[in-house]
Amino acid sequence: MTRSPDDQIDPYESRLTRRVGDFAEQAVRPVDPLAVAAAAHAGAQRRTLGGRLFGSTASMSRLGVVFAGALVAAAAFGVYLNAGGTANPGPSASGNAPDATPTEVAGPGGVACSAAQLTGEIVGWDGAAGHRIASLNLHNTGPGDCALPKLLRPALVDADGHALIVGALVSDTRTLTFQVGNAASTEVDMANYCGAAPTAELRIRLYLPDQTSFELSPHLDVPGTVDPPPCNGPNAAASIQIQAVNP
């Protein structure tokens, strides 16, 4: 709803305010504030990085040169791994593993999974030393196989969709090929929620790199109460972290 200015210049202003307000209303669309915030955060980081690397008039060609350099470096790193080197943290990229398990790839591989084709449920909710650990099962409902990020950005949300804790942006670009009908699993570790009592029941929201998301509700068989992690200290930050997705 458009507001009226409180220092009127002319009586005609109230009429114009209504006209402009009605006119401008056609541009308003419902948005997910958290997704907008996440995109703003990611965009601001890109701008900062871009500014540091290239200044405000960076050309895409210069960016392309750097990207090509990064590809060369990544290829060289792959040669090093195949020669017996190790990479930390986390599992290294695999080569041509001849097994039937989903394929892990470094960087974008295949068609990226969309939020519309992903579902899942919370199958465990365990408490340990001030933490809550949610065990998640993920499913690819199709229509096709897709590349699922190994690390997804998690958020703990309440029944009204309000985010209680949101995980950090994910920079890891590894993906696995998620075949239609297959399941994958992961765990989310949460701690130190000191906010207002949330509306039951809690859910886990997982964000894809394009900031679209899907949500997982507790499975009927989850034992105990799906409650937020206890407040360990209001001056400390809440945290939520996710393990790499396991096929």
Binding site: D22, Q26, A27, A38, A40, H41
Partner: protein
């Protein structure tokens, strides 16, 4: 509507990188920013793009906001500026054409009577004839409801200068829109 204390707390947390707090600010101001950007550029998609870029800039500079009551004028003026920049960078004119019969892209919103539709088109045409600076003034004043002093701070003018310019614009729009002198 969130009160000043909540805004201050949300701004402080958001400036420290708290996305949930930033999302509260988005929820409170996104629609106003979209309305302002749309009045400046006249294109829904361009307005939405401008607002998204505006949020990126707001994220990067949120720690520069010291007073809660400056937040809203600051955000809507960023959105207006981004909308102007997008028009300029794409060498586009603010333009809305009258709908053609059977054109689904320009179907009126459900529930809008023909007279209201015609009034909107008249306003769109009148806005199209203004300079971007003047549309920015109109947007900040009549889509966001800012006072003359708030607009002045946002665009680097005095409050008196804003009032004088708005008075001229009101006279022009009233004439072009065939509105009665006293509403």
């Amino acid at each position: 509507m969130i009160d000043d204390e909540s805004i201050r707390a949300a701004v402080a947390r958001a400036a420290a990188g708290d996305e949930v707090a930033f999302a509260r600010i988005v929820a409170a101001h996104h629609d106003d920013m979209t309305r302002v950007a749309f009045v400046v550029c006249g294109d829904v998609e361009l307005a939405q793009e401008a607002v998204q870029v505006a949020w990126q800039k707001a994220w990067a500079k949120l720690d520069s906001i010291r007073a809660a009551d400056r937040l809203r004028p600051w955000l809507v003026s960023i959105a207006a500026n981004e909308a102007r920049q997008l028009i300029r960078s794409r060498n586009r004119r603010w333009l809305r054409e009258a709908p053609m019969e059977g054109d689904e892209q320009t179907e009126p919103r459900p529930g809008m009577d023909p007279a209201s539709r015609a009034a909107q088109l008249d306003l769109a045409n009148a806005l199209a004839g203004l300079e971007p600076d003047d549309r920015t003034l109109i947007a900040l004043r009549y889509a966001a409801g800012l006072t003359s002093d708030e607009i002045g701070r946002a665009i680097g003018m005095t409050g008196g200068g804003v009032r004088a310019r708005l008075a001229r614009l009101l006279t022009r729009l009233r004439k072009e829109l065939h509105d009665d002198p006293i509403a």
